[in-house]
């Protein structure tokens, strides 16, 4: 586990680094003009609705400071909800409310927030605290996911999501991201979430990493991560593959949540998906990406179902 791995071994496995990802895939396959579709989650949601892809229902949108006066009324009908910045990155600024008590709103960890706290949070979002470059932002209030039973015991105070790397419409690699105590309930690997690589054929666990190191068990719940198996896997892959048709981004990370009642929903897209997925899947991305590059743009199938079949045959 310790020490440095040689570049030869990495190259042999086809592991791509940040530089290769940026130069050879993101710069080459992701047109800059398409970024706003994914950098703004509100835009992504609108686009998904147009393409009839399932996303978490939107309860409200706050664009301006003065709209905050009505925040209380806006939240009244909902017992649980999520407040998140439209342009937040790495899961920053996402506030989950699971319920209410007399004293106020309950966070998943039991902390109680007043309406004033929520307004401050929305204020920070509008002022751009969580957005890239500090640009002013919108606050989205949406449905709080009730995650599927298959993840029971695999997550600590957060919603697990499934990150699928989709290259030219073909799913190439997938991983489940589980929040932990250190990640503060966020499903972001940088912040300490656990990434469990899953095979493309069935959605079964391969191995797991946390903070770039292998782990056997969830650090907080103690469940064996190798027992993880995602249900409704084909539906989920289909959603990921269709997300490509919706944005046209060649190299994209599609984040999907699996709701107990509503099934798979597109949470957000990422035009610069991280590389830790390779360690969780114990495989390099390069051979798979090159396999698809070899097909040639003209021969890439327009049918998401066919693309999934191809991926299952070649990358599982």
């Amino acid at each position: 586990m310790n020490g440095l791995i040689s570049t030869k071994s990495l190259r042999g496995r086809g592991v791509i680094g940040m530089n290769a990802r940026n130069v050879s895939y993101i710069a080459r396959y992701n047109e800059r003009a398409l970024y706003p579709h994914v950098d703004d989650k509100y835009e992504t949601k609108k686009l998904a609705r147009e393409h009839q892809l399932q996303t978490p229902p939107l309860y409200g949108l706050i664009r301006y400071q003065h709209q905050m006066k009505h925040l209380g009324e806006m939240l009244d009908p909902y017992g649980s909800f999520v407040i998140k910045p439209a342009k937040g990155s790495e899961g920053k600024g996402i506030l989950i409310i699971r319920g209410r008590s007399e004293k106020g709103y309950l966070k998943p960890n039991g902390e109680i927030l007043s309406l004033r706290d929520l307004k401050r949070h929305v204020g920070n979002i509008l002022n751009g605290l969580y957005s890239l470059g500090g640009r002013t932002d919108k606050a989205m209030i949406e449905y709080a996911i009730n995650f599927s039973d298959v993840f029971e015991g695999f997550s600590y105070q957060g919603v697990p999501d499934i990150r699928v790397i989709v290259f030219r419409g073909y799913p190439v690699m997938a991983m489940v991201r589980l929040s932990t105590k250190v990640s503060d309930g966020k499903a972001n690997l940088h912040q300490g979430a656990v990434g469990v690589g899953v095979d493309l054929a069935f959605g079964h666990a391969i191995r797991a990493v946390q903070f770039n190191r292998l782990v056997e068990m969830h650090p907080d719940t103690g469940r064996r991560l190798s027992e993880l198996a995602v249900s409704r896997w084909d539906e989920l892959l289909l959603l990921a593959a269709q997300a490509f048709d919706m944005t046209g981004l060649g190299y994209v990370g599609v984040d999907i949540v699996l709701d107990k009642d509503r099934g798979p929903m597109v949470l957000e897209l990422n035009a610069r998906p991280g590389l830790a997925i390779q360690m969780a899947s114990n495989a390099g991305l390069l051979p798979r990406l090159q396999r698809i590059e070899a097909i040639g743009k003209k021969y890439c199938s327009p049918s998401a179902v066919e693309r999934i079949a191809f991926a299952k045959t070649h990358f599982a």
């Binding site: 586990m1 310790n2 020490g3 440095l4 791995i5 040689s6 570049t7 030869k8 071994s9 990495l10 042999g12 496995r13 592991v15 680094g17 940040m18 530089n19 290769a20 130069v23 050879s24 920053k92 004033r116 401050r120 204020g123 920070n124 002022n127 751009g128 605290l129 969580y130 500090g134 912040q191 990493v209 770039n212 190191r213 292998l214 390779q278 360690m279 114990n282």
Partner: protein, 517 residues
């Protein structure tokens, strides 16, 4: 793929222009690659004295021009109340250049000064090849008796023992300088008092022998010396080429340090309206920076490229650009640290700005101030965050507090006579305040661990940038050869297509099975 080819083309073009420019300036113009190179220059002052005859005065004085081994940097004539005409600088003239002083009415002892600054050129070969010649006639007295026989005797003897004009001249010089001169030489030089007189006679003999010859007079550029006299030499045509003989040496050639003051022409001084003209010379040796010498010299020769030099800007602008031109090198350091090593810094170019601040405060003082201000700034931030302020007012408040901290540190430092506190000026203040702002946002978003990591990364990068950007050698090079910017740009573009692993990724991806380093 085509974008890759285009990039390589651009990189190649930039490298070719940049390196070509550097090589041209180094090899052709002669800019030194390393700083602080100094070359000796000589200031030669000619002092002309004469008695004026209470009437109009005109003095024509031979002065040196550009030569193969010695170049002229500056020249000026100083004399109160005299009109002064300096010579035109075309190539033909440079063989016998003359300056002219004139005055409508002058009386008594007169003093005229002419000063020239000369430097030794690098090309030590190819000495004294003057192309244009003046045809001189043999003086009448040498073709009449009794001198005619003596001259003819010498010529006959010299011709017997020589093969060409060069050896013939050498033989004659030997005869003139023999310990016991033969009869003919004795007759010819009976009235000679100085070396110059003897050289004049020798020139006449050479002319009578049908050898094109003329007299040149010059000085050695060696150590500083006062009251020097000009040393005579002879230049003769040997077939196609011209050769120079010192009047007392039978071998052709003059040392590279020989500055020919007068070449051809009738005399050193032509004086109208005065008597008893005498010129004496003093040589002062000192050192100047090679860059300055090169620029002045090539400007005199009308080279356009030196006109674009940054050294032509006013000094205060030069200093601003000296700092500014180092920023690209800092950027290169950041590119390498981030894309090849994989160090995380807070903000892409914050390390460069920090390095600029450190350059102003000096490294140690800068680091101390940085750590104090960041520490205090972050603690103020955390107490402010309990007040439920909106983001922008909160950050602004932090900036105000940081500036307050720095100002009081300055004042206290001044009172306590701690030298480094005084180095906190406007520029570092702004950079540090801005850094605190960034780091407090980072603290809010990613927590203290990330702040620590990025602060350490930024500091490491800033210190490296400080050493690169503070290097006087590099500073000199990029300031003298601004073409280096193109080379730096080309290298940065090359890194733009670097798809290899980062050093940090070798650790990050270590959980893969494989060979360990």
């Amino acid at each position: 793929m085509s974008s890759r080819i285009r990039l390589f083309f651009i990189i190649g073009l930039l490298l070719a222009i940049g390196l070509g420019g550097i090589l041209y300036k180094k090899l052709v113009i002669g800019y030194p690659i390393l700083p602080k190179q100094q070359v000796p220059v000589w200031t030669i002052e000619a002092h002309i004295e004469f008695n004026a005859e209470n009437g109009p005065v005109k003095v024509s004085f031979a002065v040196p021009g550009e030569q193969a081994a010695v170049g002229v940097l500056e020249e000026e004539g100083v004399s109160l109340g005299y009109g002064f005409i300096s010579p035109a600088d075309d190539a033909d003239q440079s063989l016998h250049r003359r300056v002219v002083w004139s005055k409508a009415l002058a009386e008594g002892r007169q003093h005229l000064y002419y000063r020239v600054v000369a430097y030794q050129k690098n090309n030590r070969h190819n000495l004294g090849s003057f192309t244009t010649a003046t045809t001189a006639e043999v003086d009448a007295q040498y073709v009449e008796e009794p001198l005619r026989t003596a001259v003819q005797g010498l010529i006959d003897e010299a011709r017997r023992y020589s093969a060409d004009a060069s050896t013939c001249t050498g033989y004659l010089i030997q005869l003139f300088h023999a310990d016991e001169p033969n009869q003919n030489v004795g007759l010819l030089t009976r009235n000679c008092e100085t070396d110059l007189d003897r050289a004049c006679v020798l020139q006449q003999v050479l002319l009578a022998a049908d050898i094109d010859a003329y007299l040149i007079r010059g000085l050695y550029l060696k150590e500083s010396r006062n009251r020097q006299e000009l040393i005579p030499a002879l230049m003769i045509r040997n077939g196609e080429k011209w050769e120079t003989f010192l009047a007392d040496r039978p071998q052709p050639g003059v040392p590279a340090s020989f500055l020919a003051w007068q070449r051809g022409g009738e005399s050193l001084i032509d004086l109208m309206g005065g008597k008893g003209a005498h010129a004496s010379f003093s040589v002062l040796r000192n050192r100047r920076s090679l860059v300055g010498v090169v620029e002045t010299a090539s400007a005199r020769q009308g080279n356009m490229l030196t006109q674009f030099s940054l050294y032509n800007l006013p000094i205060d602008q030069q200093n601003a650009y000296r700092l500014l031109m180092m920023v690209p090198l800092g950027a290169l350091v950041v590119v390498i640290l981030r894309n090849v090593v994989g160090i995380r810094t807070s903000g892409t170019f914050m390390p460069i700005l920090l390095a600029l601040a450190f350059l102003e405060t000096k490294l140690f003082a800068g680091l101390v101030i940085f750590l104090i201000v960041i520490g205090m700034g972050l603690s103020v931030r955390s107490s402010l965050s309990r007040l439920d302020l909106l983001l922008v007012p909160r950050i602004s408040a932090v900036v105000v507090v940081v500036i307050g901290i720095m100002v009081s540190a300055s004042v206290f430092g001044h009172l306590m006579e701690m030298p480094f506190a005084r180095s906190v000026t406007l520029f570092p203040t702004i950079i540090l305040a801005w850094t605190v702002e960034r780091l407090s946002v980072l603290w809010e978003e990613d927590g203290p661990k990330e702040v620590g990591l990025q602060t350490a990364g930024s500091l490491l990068a800033a210190v490296l940038c400080y050493f690169v950007m503070g290097s006087t050698t590099l500073n000199y090079m990029i300031f003298t050869f601004p073409e280096m910017l193109l080379v730096v740009l080309a290298v940065i573009l090359m890194f733009g297509q670097y798809t290899g692993y980062r050093l940090s990724e070798l650790r990050r991806f270590a959980p893969f099975d494989g060979e360990r380093l």
